[in-house]
């Protein structure tokens, strides 16, 4: 019980850890933007699109929401090469993240769309707007306003969950921590630092999203 903390031993590896941190941030930002785009398209298809398209989206959503993220990642990275689709660790990590967040955000955004009063849609249609104009100009804005907190939480969950991509050697923060630990065996210090980094990142993301929400949805 008299372990002596030696953070100084991490110093030679600051570069590795910083690069890992940056990778995690970039991975999160890109997959958030792309994932929400996928989610918006998916939710729109399920609510405003043709039935057959809605079914396809439903299958995608259920497939992703009912399987572990790590299995999805392994399938993309280790499984797909069997079909001739060989991706780099980085591409596989980004792809898996986008597919995963896309499915969850489809469900979240769909809930928002369905919470928009039907009368608003009818009012838009009565003003000679098309279904898609109504969706874009009237429904989506209100839907995002309603589900913004839920979507923010999901983004944090995905950011923390991204640690899993280290398992295919995508060089994120967790991968960097593993690397350092395997070199200097300072497991306690390395993982404590990594945990702190995730904690700070999560809290920063949360405040950032909250501030962003205030700017975007300032009206009303």
């Amino acid at each position: 019980m008299s372990y002596k903390l030696q953070f100084a031993e991490l110093l030679p590896y600051w570069n590795v850890l910083l690069q890992g941190l940056i990778f995690t941030i970039v991975l999160t930002v890109v997959s958030t933007v792309a994932g929400i785009a996928v989610g918006t398209a998916g939710a729109s298809a399920r609510t405003f699109g043709p039935v057959w398209l809605g079914r396809i989206v439903a299958v995608y959503v259920e497939l992703i929401r009912n399987t572990p993220f790590i299995v999805q990642l392994f399938f993309i990275f280790f499984g797909l090469p069997a079909l001739g689709l060989k991706l780099s660790e980085t591409t596989a990590a980004f792809l898996a993240m986008v597919i995963n967040l896309g499915a969850y955000s489809t469900e979240i955004i769909r809930a928002g769309i369905e919470a928009v009063p039907k009368g608003h849609i009818e009012a838009g249609l009565s003003l000679a707007m098309t279904k898609w104009e109504v969706l874009r100009r009237i429904v989506l804005n209100q839907a995002f306003r309603k589900i913004y907190p839920a979507l923010s939480s999901q983004i944090i969950i995905v950011m923390l969950g991204s640690a899993v991509v280290s398992q295919i050697s995508a060089e994120d923060l967790t991968y960097a921590a593993n690397f350092v630990a395997s070199r200097n065996f300072r497991n306690f210090e390395v993982y404590l630092l990594a945990a702190l980094a995730y904690l700070v990142l999560a809290m920063l993301t949360r405040s950032l999203l909250r501030a962003l929400g205030r700017v975007i949805f300032k009206a009303r």
């Binding site: 009368g119 009012a123 249609l125 003003l127 000679a128 707007m129 104009e133 100009r137 009206a219 009303r220």
Partner: protein, 242 residues
């Protein structure tokens, strides 16, 4: 030549037939008040006229467009047939002016400046010039409904459908909305109103339609119909609500 011609329209929701052969002719400048018990098919009929509901048989021709056709251009139809709802249905994320400007800019592709000028004009008409930049949540029910009317007017409709537009309002706010509608009627706007305001129907309407069990049960000049209802159903209805 009637502006809206409804011929033997039948409409069912599942096994429940709501419209059982409705025929009605509405000329330009008519102010038609449709009255009747809830469930008599009034609102459904109104919603069929701009294609919000489909019907199974019969025909509705509004401004020369057959509403129920398979290839009907509903967008073209709705450019000329406006609608105001019981629940206002203002878009909460847009100001009063933006609510009014949306359809002209999106549908008619007019410039923002031009749309804003139109918005100023129609909002002045409903007495809300000073509320252009207010959000719906900052307006009273009566003000919201007047913005909704202005929003329809901005598209320069030939017919305005009003679906119980004062039913969700507090009693003291009803008149400010009715005054706007009366003003429109005086200016020659063709109006089809589903309403429970009997006095308004009698004083402002040019035509009264009493619906009962999915049919036009009685119709005529409002003052005459109210003074001497011919059918026992209308006598009873007028007795209850009057």
């Amino acid at each position: 030549m009637s502006l809206v011609s409804i011929r033997d329209v039948r409409k069912s929701f599942g096994a429940n037939e709501v419209l059982k052969g409705v025929s009605l002719d509405i000329a330009k400048g008519d102010v038609v008040a449709i009255i009747g018990r809830s469930g008599s098919g009034k609102s459904t009929l109104l919603r069929c006229i701009n294609g919000l509901e489909t019907y199974q048989s019969g025909s509705i021709i509004a401004d020369g467009i057959e509403v129920g056709g398979a290839s009907t251009n509903l967008r073209e139809l709705r450019r000329h047939v406006g609608m105001v709802f019981q629940q206002f249905n203002l878009f909460p994320h847009l100001t009063a002016a933006e609510n009014v400007m949306l359809a002209p800019t999106v549908v008619n592709k007019v410039s923002k400046a031009e749309a804003r000028a139109t918005a100023a004009e129609v909002l002045a008409k409903v007495g809300l010039s000073e509320k252009m930049d207010a959000y719906p949540s900052e307006l009273s029910g009566g003000q919201q409904q007047r913005v909704a009317i202005a929003r329809s007017l901005a598209m320069r409709p030939k017919v305005l459908l009003c679906d119980e537009i004062t039913s969700a309002l507090d009693p003291e706010l009803v008149n400010e909305v009715l005054r706007v509608v009366e003003q429109l009627a005086r200016e020659g706007m063709t109006l089809i109103l589903v309403t429970h305001e009997m006095r308004f129907a009698r004083d402002v309407g040019t035509k009264l339609v009493f619906m009962h069990h999915g049919k036009v049960h009685e119709e005529g000049v409002p003052k005459e119909v109210f003074a001497a209802p011919r059918t026992p159903e209308l006598q009873q209805f007028v007795g209850q609500v009057g």
